[in-house]
Symmetry: C2
Subunit: 293 residues, 2 copies
DNA sequence: CTATAGTATTCATTTTTGGAGAATGATAGT
DNA sequence: ACTATCATTCTCCAAAAATGAATACTATAG
């Protein structure tokens, strides 16, 4: 059983057919057929059910698949680990929530790049749920997510403490004013896409204000959201630092239980401590103390 | 990078030379040389330092080795997982302390074999330290060890509670008699080989009796140990159930703090729950209740 | 200083494996 | 019945891996 066989197997399983798998693997149908057959012969049982519209996994195939993917991921990691001589370099993929990327990371990333110019850092923003999944499957080396997170495969360190504030248009000077001037069904809640932790918190806050079923409106970007709030399209919940001295909107302090949220930096537990990631964590520690307050 | 390359690499690393690795792998030197060279070319760095007496790992090699071994172990496990259709069958390797194997396991194993005759169970006895290492590296599927055990990669369930007793020759009727009739340096302590938990407990007990530096004598088998005690060669510490109604020796009750020990059944956390092991655990649960008292 | 035993490497050769491409067969939808 | 879409099978060829023999290196013993 060779790794290439397992990669082939995984592609067939994921794409549901030999033709599609062959296409993705840049080879021909017959070749994939043979590799799958060889694997089935070695294990001694069928891995796929064949039908006219492709192939689907059998029980044995379903049991094998996680091993195949795991081993493929390990082989990629192994090469990087062997090449990692202690000098931070090479690619480093970091994920972050939109809000953290906007206000916390610029200084951190600049510092990191100054200290470790040989690392090719890439940053992608997404929701906490996506980020956790991404770190687990190796898509990200590390990510900034909203706590709390408990997972046996993840290491988490406190990166920043944020205070969430309710953000409204200028015309609402106070929370009681907002409540008085809003219809019974509540204001429109401007939220990030599914999986965002702040979204859940906002729904909880609105619920406590007596607006359990407020209209929701999904936006993908931070700027878009603040713009919509400024135009009094609705309200949203953001870290105070994100809104800063932005005078197109008003911010309203919430009680601590509702407002406190911790941003964690999570990494996967691996056999090897990668230098680039360690360097990043080191930067985070330095920087964190300064701006976490 | 194929699995066979990694297995070859691992063999060279472990055996410290291409000739020895080729021999173990049933192939020729030149082949091993080529595989290693191919791996080094792919990773882009040397994995071994060559010298006249063989090869030793470089830093990169040391970083790669755990991945290679891990992947090899995963590939073996993957085949078993794929073949495991829910019906307990195939090989099952269980480890145990000598004492547990002697008094607790016969009934359990008989029951297990009655219920799951298709499983080829193999039992090996060793010390707790060995057993833990064996379970972690896949040599054992599960093992009976002396608690407590805390390890992120292991699941542990309480299997049996034992009461340790001091075992002496017939002529010592009481502990005070033993103390009075023994020279100041204390009796000879008959112990299992290094790594046995009971051994540490015995040394602790003798120390509390005022014999901190008693002579030690290592034995490999339970019968040998009881025989030596009967011949008044020394004393030892064993679970009460092991000695049973053996009238060639006397047993002396200790205070609970010294006497209590828990036998745990430990298994490795794996991607797949193996049926044979689950069946074993099920038997253990049934049986445990009856005789754990 | 040389002989020897043990080691890794190199190279030419054979064997095995893997991939390409075309033909075949099977199934579902029209 | 016709077509589109699959998977399988077969043959051919090239690439990769294994082999076996020759070479070179380095300690150690005599």
């Amino acid at each position: 059983m060779e790794l290439s066989d397992l990669v082939t197997f995984s592609a067939v399983a994921r794409l549901g057919g030999i033709t599609r798998a062959a296409d993705e693997l840049n080879t021909v149908q017959s070749n994939v057929t043979q590799r799958v057959k060889a694997l089935e012969a070695e294990i001694g049982t069928a891995l796929f059910e064949r039908h006219s519209r492709g192939m689907t996994l059998t029980g044995a195939g379903r049991r094998l698949l996680p091993y195949a993917d795991r081993m493929a991921a390990l082989s990629r990691e192994a090469v990087l680990a062997a090449r990692d001589d202690g000098e931070p370099k090479g690619p480093l993929s970091i994920g972050s929530m939109e809000t953290t990327a906007a206000v916390r990371l610029p200084a951190l990333l600049a510092e990191f790049h100054r200290r470790f110019p040989a690392v090719q850092l890439s940053l992608r923003t997404s929701t906490t749920a996506d980020l956790v999944a991404g770190v687990l499957n190796g898509k990200f080396d590390g990510a900034f997510v909203a706590g709390p997170i408990e997972h046996a495969e993840l290491d988490a360190t406190l990166a920043f403490r944020e205070e969430l504030v309710l953000v409204t248009a200028r015309r609402w000077q106070t929370l009681s004013g907002l409540r008085a001037g809003t219809p019974g069904s509540g204001p429109t809640a401007l939220v990030f896409r599914i999986g965002c932790t702040y979204r859940q918190r906002l729904e909880q806050v609105l619920s406590e204000f007596g607006w359990p079923s407020a209209t929701r409106f999904e936006l993908g970007t931070l700027d878009g959201m603040i713009g919509c709030v400024a135009a009094d399209m609705g309200v949203t919940l953001l870290p105070r630092a994100v809104v800063g001295r932005n005078d197109t909107v008003n911010v309203h302090t919430l009680n601590p239980a509702q407002a406190r949220v911790e941003t964690l930096f999570i990494t996967r537990r691996t056999a090897h401590q990668f230098s680039a990631l360690q360097g990043f964590a080191a930067c985070l520690e330095n920087n964190g103390e300064v701006i976490a307050a």
